[in-house]
Symmetry: C2
Subunit: 238 residues, 2 copies
DNA sequence: GCGCTGTGTCCGGCTGGCTGCTGATTCTGG
DNA sequence: CCAGAATCAGCAGCCAGCCGGACACAGCGC
């Protein structure tokens, strides 16, 4: 059950041409929306965008909300490979070698999500027609790589405390909204979700978050975490 | 001290034009080599390719050998963010937003390395002139992302034993050469290097590798690891 | 109102990090 | 090509941090 609601893309192939190139300020979103076969979808929190094993035929741009890419094991365990923020490209597997391939990740809407999906072939054609499209996509992927690498950095910290802190800082960067008393992470994160993202367990996360709260570094209000002072928090790992 | 030896790129801007597009079988390597301002470099094992803080102005393609991207902390500790295999693109930071930015990783030749470096501006121009270039780069980056995500998967395993096994399998994929008695990882890996890559310590790696050896799953000969049977090894984590 | 998910806490046990040391291997410069 | 230096590998003992399991309760949605 996918729970999509398609609000329809342009049924007639939009004139891609040099439109994007002509407009220097054009964005990935504009480009994706103009692609032939593109579909704009809304997915409710918790619903699946694609399952492992599904054919990989479309590229996605996350327009609004957050998406969780995860790997599911036979044991039933699930680990989070990426928490995508707005404007992230994903599903790029489909861009690779022409041959058919299947998804191996599970993509779930972590919040209510709006996304733009376009067939891989369509993307390829658009690139050929308008080189500016290629550049934009390239930049999108570049920033995905940087994002992912920061996450690797987070995960190589040895003690869980550092790992959690580092993860919180990543979340601040990706999902933080500044407020009067610090940066609030605009996601409803359960301890379990955090544990699955940094390779720990629910109980440990509960304990460590408790420590941080008692140390006056963070505040938690109905699953939303506020970091009072990121630099002070960063001092938590050497 | 960078220890480069430049074997000179084309001093006159090569005619990029539609050459690549015309030739369907063209590769990333061909494309990069044709870029104006491109330089082919050889770097000896252990030498630095770029330091953190260096201006990010070039994109690299790793043509031969392995490159280690790492983060250095004030404490002197160093963790490995990526071990790049042949045909990997790196230094993509420079492709992002036009504004100047600095490297924040340390890139070191992990083996003797041959690479092709091209100014970011030159890459951008090539994309504009020939859309096929954009597509090739895009595919290059896509596979980098997949690679990085596998590494995240590795790192979220809780027990070190699984982590090590998972890492070895990644290395087999990226650097493995099949032999008569299994797959040999074509890198000279010290226990310390492995520890820095999977967020553990030298001592633990020594112990765990010893276990694997005694279990008859791997063999180690002067720092080269041979995995007898990857699928048997994979059974090591549930 | 009830049930489910999420949070907080306790405890036993073991993994894995830390320290210190020794012998082996590799690298470097003369 | 050799000698000294530096890095690397293996071993042991100690101890903290984290996992696993279990349980009670709070909050939220239905």
């Amino acid at each position: 059950m996918r729970g999509f609601s398609r609000t329809g893309g342009p049924s007639t192939p939009a004139p891609v041409g040099l439109a994007a190139a002509a407009n220097g300020a054009s964005t990935l979103l504009d480009v994706m929306r103009g692609l032939s076969g593109c579909v704009i979808e809304t997915v409710e929190r918790g619903k699946t965008i694609f399952f492992p094993g599904d054919p990989a035929e479309r590229v996605y741009l996350l327009r609004r909300g957050a998406v969780r890419l995860s790997r599911v094991y036979e044991s039933g365990e699930e680990i989070t490979v990426a928490l995508l923020r707005e404007n992230s490209l994903f599903g790029v597997l489909s861009l690779l070698t022409g041959q058919r391939s299947d998804r191996f990740y599970h993509a779930v809407a972590f919040t209510r999500v709006e996304l733009v999906a376009a067939p891989a072939g369509s993307v390829r054609r658009a690139i050929e027609q308008d080189s500016a499209v290629g550049l934009l996509l390239l930049q999108g992927l570049s920033s995905r790589i940087l994002q992912t690498e920061t996450m690797i950095e987070t995960l190589t910290h040895r003690d869980m405390s550092s790992r959690l802190v580092s993860f919180l800082l990543v979340l601040c960067r990706d999902f933080g909204v500044p407020g009067s008393e610090g940066i609030t992470i605009d996601l409803r994160l359960s301890h379990q979700a955090i544990a699955e993202a940094i390779g720990s367990t629910r109980v440990t996360i509960t304990r460590l978050l408790g420590d941080l709260r008692q140390a006056g570094l963070v505040q938690i209000d109905r699953k939303k975490i506020t970091v009072f002072d990121p630099v002070a928090l960063a001092k938590r790992f050497s």
